[in-house]
């Protein structure tokens, strides 16, 4: 019945009630839609890094005085558990000649399996016997085609394949590089030691165990290598996006704040207008607590209706923002969206109830005799 009373009071001032609800709808929509968009944005970015989350990069410990990783370490790591694949890598900067042009670029040594695992060959093949595979940007810049000849340190290589352009990577960047076999690399640069090892773990849970093992078996006496896990980079990206999302939410929160103020305003007006009624109710046996409840119900009704409508509309809001900014709304139907909506609805309700609390409290504190005299 208290609920019914509250409902009818709201119906008495329909326009005012509707305006207050619209305020909440907009606030909740802003929060939920931006939440949905933020999650979509994060996912879109993280998606590009998803397949490298299980990757670890082992580099020489430069701070420990090491500039390369020697063969014994590589074979130790190759024998370690937890790993799905181990790709030792050498690299060196070198002048490269093509016909009458020359450029300075990075030369990597990798085997064919590694190329297949790490990259995608766009044109040609990944054959490395006396031939090389080159990165897309380099090919484009130097106008190199499959079958062309490049010269590295007076040795001529046939271009066997050209790689597809790679996005941002943390391990190696092949876009401007040339990949040759280890045999050729050793011959050209006379370099036995490796510059890095790219390894993939079986499962993400094993990363810590693998790191511990490296510390124990390789770094026990002297810090020779560093293990960089890409997962932690992903975590940092996620963290950064979470912060951006939080900031966006805070901006959206302002609109909810405004809605809260408008509820506060209309309910204060309502309290004032109904002072005498409150007095009457107090006279016929309503306690302070009852008055508080009736007014809080009014705020709650505004909050529930506004939040539910806002939550529902935010699906469309999120859809259009994602479509406009991310050019795709494929992340719309996910748990994160549901979470964003629930979050918006929750904040809508909280705002309504908090805003309603002061007027309700004020109404409940009215002295019955004063309230009855009020005209």
């Amino acid at each position: 019945m208290y609920f019914e009373l509250a409902k009818r009071n709201l119906m008495r001032t329909k326009v005012r009630t509707i305006l207050a609800i619209i305020g909440i709808v907009i606030g909740v929509m802003a929060i939920s839609s931006i939440g949905i968009f933020g999650e979509g944005l994060k996912k879109t970015v993280l998606e590009r890094f998803e397949d490298i989350a299980n990757e670890v990069i082992i580099t020489p410990s430069f701070s420990g005085g090491y500039s390369s990783i020697d063969k014994t370490i590589v074979s130790k790591i190759e024998k370690m558990p937890y790993l799905k694949s181990v790709i030792p890598l050498k690299n060196e900067g070198s002048l490269v000649y093509l016909k009458n042009k020359k450029t300075f670029t990075t030369i990597y040594s990798l085997d064919r399996a590694a190329i297949t695992e790490l990259f995608e060959v766009e044109k040609g093949s990944n054959r490395l016997s006396g031939s090389c595979v080159i990165g897309s940007n380099l090919a484009e810049r130097m106008k190199i085609r499959v079958g062309n000849k490049v010269t590295i340190k007076e040795k001529e290589f046939t271009v066997a394949g050209i790689l597809k352009e790679e996005g941002a990577r943390f391990d190696i960047n092949p876009n401007n590089a040339i990949i040759i076999s280890e045999k050729d690399f050793t011959e050209l640069f006379n370099k036995e030691d490796y510059s890095a090892i790219i390894a993939k773990v079986e499962s993400l849970q094993d990363i810590e165990k693998f790191k511990d093992l490296v510390e124990k078996s390789i770094n026990s006496r002297d810090k020779k290598v560093r293990v960089l896990e890409l997962r932690s980079i992903l975590e940092r990206i996620t963290e950064a996006f979470n912060q951006i999302n939080l900031f966006l939410l805070a901006i959206a929160g302002v609109s909810l704040l405004v809605a809260g103020v408008s509820i506060l305003n209309i309910m204060l007006m309502s309290t004032l207008e109904r002072t005498k009624e409150i007095g009457v109710m107090r006279a016929v046996g309503a306690s302070r607590h009852t008055i508080l409840r009736i007014f809080l119900y009014e705020a709650l009704i505004l909050g529930v209706i506004g939040s539910v409508i806002g939550g529902f509309l935010s699906i469309f809001g999120g859809y259009f923002i994602e479509l406009a900014i991310l050019q795709s709304a494929k992340h719309l139907f996910s748990m994160a969206t549901l979470y964003s909506i629930l979050q918006g609805v929750f904040f809508g309700l909280i705002t309504a109830v908090i805003s309603g609390f002061y007027p309700a409290f004020k109404a409940s504190k009215l002295e019955p005799i004063e309230a009855l005299r009020y005209e």
Binding site: M1, Y2, L5, R8, N9, M11, R12, K276, E277, V280, M281, R282, A283, V284, G285, A286, S287, R288, H289, T290, P368, I369, L372
Partner: protein, 227 residues
């Protein structure tokens, strides 16, 4: 018979700015159970203050007010609310019905505050509205009722929780003679059923229904006819 209302040397002093207004100046009054009394006096005499005191809506500055044996000065807000709800029925000059509620719901209201269930409430509210002759108007809102009808709904509401005392503040003040007479008739019948009725009025026609008239002027009781 025992006193359901007892005022002992009650003072009510308001401070308006620097000026002190003495609304009640040492009022002592006893009302026995089942009495019908009229409190009369000109405006500003303190009669409404006296009624509010009895109705536990106001607390005395000095002195004691005992309602059904309870010293109101010793009760907290919740206890006073309960006392009002269960012991006292209010009838106001302005009827003071809740405009969003139907006649039936208005009568149910005090029972809601008391925590009665829906069936009990509706049954009693129907009975009470029938008693005041409004069985056909139960679903009307106050604005759809005449002044006399509204006041009868208010009486039904005042009776909802079976009060010992009915407090009426100029109950016929806004009504035409005929409606006013009907209201007074209902009040007289209720008094015959054992309800203590206290009416504040300055209308001699109203006070005629009372067994006893208490005259008040400048916050003091002048004489007590029938004491």
């Amino acid at each position: 018979m025992h006193a359901v209302v007892e005022l002992q040397e009650v003072y009510k002093i308001y401070t308006l700015g620097v000026q002190k207004v003495i609304a009640l100046n040492g009022v002592s009054l006893k009302v026995e159970e089942g009495e019908f009394i009229a409190i009369m006096g000109p405006s500003g005499s303190g009669k409404s203050t006296l009624l509010n005191m009895i109705g536990c809506l106001d607390k005395p500055t000095k002195g004691r007010v005992l309602i059904a044996g309870n010293d109101t000065s010793k009760l907290n807000d919740d206890e006073l609310t309960r006392l009002r709800r269960d012991t006292i029925g209010f009838i106001f000059q302005q009827y003071n019905l809740i405009p969003t509620l139907t006649a039936l719901e208005n009568v149910e209201l005090p029972m809601i505050f008391r925590g009665l269930n829906r069936n009990e409430r509706e049954k009693r509210a129907n009975e009470l509205l029938e008693k005041v002759g409004l069985e056909r108007e139960i679903n009307r809102k106050p604005t759809e009722l005449s002044g006399g009808q509204q006041q009868r709904v208010a009486i039904a509401r005042a009776l909802a929780n079976n009060p010992t005392i009915l407090l009426c503040d100029e109950p016929t003040g806004n009504l035409d003679t005929k409606s006013g007479e009907l209201i007074m008739e209902i009040l007289t019948n209720l008094n015959k059923e054992g309800v203590t009725v206290i009416v504040v009025t300055h209308d001699p026609a109203v006070s005629e229904f009372a067994q006893r008239i208490v005259k008040i002027r400048d916050g003091k009781i002048l004489d007590k006819r029938g004491d």
